[in-house]
Subunit: 304 residues, 2 copies
């Protein structure tokens, strides 16, 4: 579940007209490299291009839960990245069809084993959970500081229902009130999710569970062309990998983080979803090997 949207993006490298974006789009695209049976819950307006819907279908994404609202317009976001690419200003947000989004879960979606809740209001995220008759094996969700500011209590209610929260370091600090990510992870996991992934952008990602922590770096890149969607691509790749292996062990989550990180490293190479639509399984395998090389060491030497 996540937004399927239009974005207009400006970076130091250039700017786009309205292009395809949205958390739901990135999640579905990324997951499709690992999992060929997925279902999207979202809403678009009548202005959304048929060819993009067909592209998703061709990648095995079922669209029965994607509402197309006649006479309405698709969600639109426009933003401009600063020179360091680590921060951005939102220029335009037009909620449009998202304003009154009531998620529909068709009967064909019942029994879904992996649920990824992209960043939307915690009330809508909760509705999706409630409308699934059987609880999925793993419920993961994303959120952002905006909801912590205006809907903290509903957010806390939804957090009680999920297994895994995927947020960035700034959001983890705001949600927990702790600067140390170790302490933040303890506070947040006490709110509900047994697993927590903290994304640190170019600095990688941390997975916390019980008394364990796993760290995956981001690949050092010559150029980040457009960071839009990297976090959602990470989440989609992560969930697709888990679902494909049908294994939610901690060890497999570590592998899934590497897979998600590899996909995110492609996402930022071009504007929007362009790069994700170009790459092949072989590209991904090669990229995953780069992560292995980047982190591989063996302490065979003994200390004096």
């Amino acid at each position: 579940m996540g937004s399927v949207a239009f974005d207009a993006i400006e970076t130091p490298f250039g700017k786009t007209d309205k292009i395809i974006g949205g958390a739901g789009t990135y999640i579905a695209l990324a997951a499709s490299f690992f999992e060929n049976k997925q279902q999207i819950v979202s809403v678009v307006g009548e202005d959304f291009p048929q060819e993009t819907l067909q592209m998703l279908k061709d990648r095995g994404v079922q669209l029965d839960g994607l509402q197309i609202k006649q006479g309405e317009k698709t969600f639109f976001w426009s933003g401009k990245y600063h020179n360091d690419m680590n921060s951005r200003d939102t220029l335009v947000t037009e909620l449009n069809v998202l304003e009154n989004f009531d998620p529909i879960l068709p009967q064909s979606y019942q029994g879904a084993e992996f649920l990824m809740l992209g960043n939307l209001s915690p009330q809508v995220q909760k509705l999706v959970i409630e409308r699934l008759e059987t609880r999925p094996k793993l419920i993961a969700m994303d959120t952002m500081n905006f909801w912590m500011d205006i809907a903290l209590e509903p957010l806390k209610e939804t957090l009680k229902l999920i297994d895994l929260l995927i947020i960035n370091d700034e959001e983890a600090r705001q949600l927990s009130g702790e600067y140390s990510l170790v302490k933040a992870s303890q506070v947040i996991r006490a709110m509900g999710p047994k697993y927590l992934i903290i994304k640190k952008g170019e600095h990688g990602a941390l997975l916390f569970h019980e008394d364990k922590a796993f760290f995956a770096p981001a690949l050092p890149l010559e150029e980040v062309f457009d960071p839009t969607g990297a976090g959602d691509t990470f989440a989609g790749g992560f969930m697709g990998y888990l679902s494909s292996a049908d294994d939610i062990s901690y060890d497999n989550m570590k592998r899934a983080i590497i897979a998600g990180s590899a996909l995110a490293s492609f996402c930022v190479e071009k504007f929007g979803t362009q790069r994700l639509q170009e790459i092949t399984q072989t590209d991904i395998e090669k990229r995953i090997n780069k992560f292995v090389e980047l982190t591989d060491f063996s302490m065979v030497e003994t200390i004096n």
Copy 2:
């Protein structure tokens, strides 16, 4: 070679009177866990405590090249860390004996195989290299933005003579004029050093060599009590580890980075050098194992 000094430190957790500090002190202390034969080049005033010199001697640090200037005072630095511990203000800098530091390399130091040049003026760093009759197997150095601002040309001269530069991300960006650390590493290595380590504080460290990169995370800590000396401790642990194994291969450098990172993770747990003076070999081995756990994954699953 590096400063042996007094520090006064203020953090959100407390403040100290004058305590023992200095890059040379941290480097020697950290290296002493791996290498029991090292020699320091530095200078102190007559106010420097004999017991600290004895402590260094007891750890195998030869002090023949440590000048004690009668009638003069030891270098003093005082700083205050901001709440996030990632930035600090310098409150006081009294160069004292460092103002006219002319490094002496006693005959007993000739033949040293590993040279670590702590952060001091590039002219002094160059003098030390020149005064060694035989070139060491590995010359590593640290520097800082201060020298890039006021002594860029001498710095570039010294960079031509070394094998490995160890600096932080901000310094790498300033020295190279590139924001991307991958690009920065290419520019900097074209200046001389074949190896480059970029320290990213709580985000770990990167090693670049030829077309290879290695990433080591920092251990996620509940609390950073005092970051002072962490970078020097990393460098000292790194060089001590390399020297002890007498192996400057890329693979051993990766191990040395983990060893240095482990020591740095202790350093920040208490004020100044206190924690480094308490820990044992067993503590270090356990900490290194935590790094192994933190980064360990195996992509045994195949992709669909």
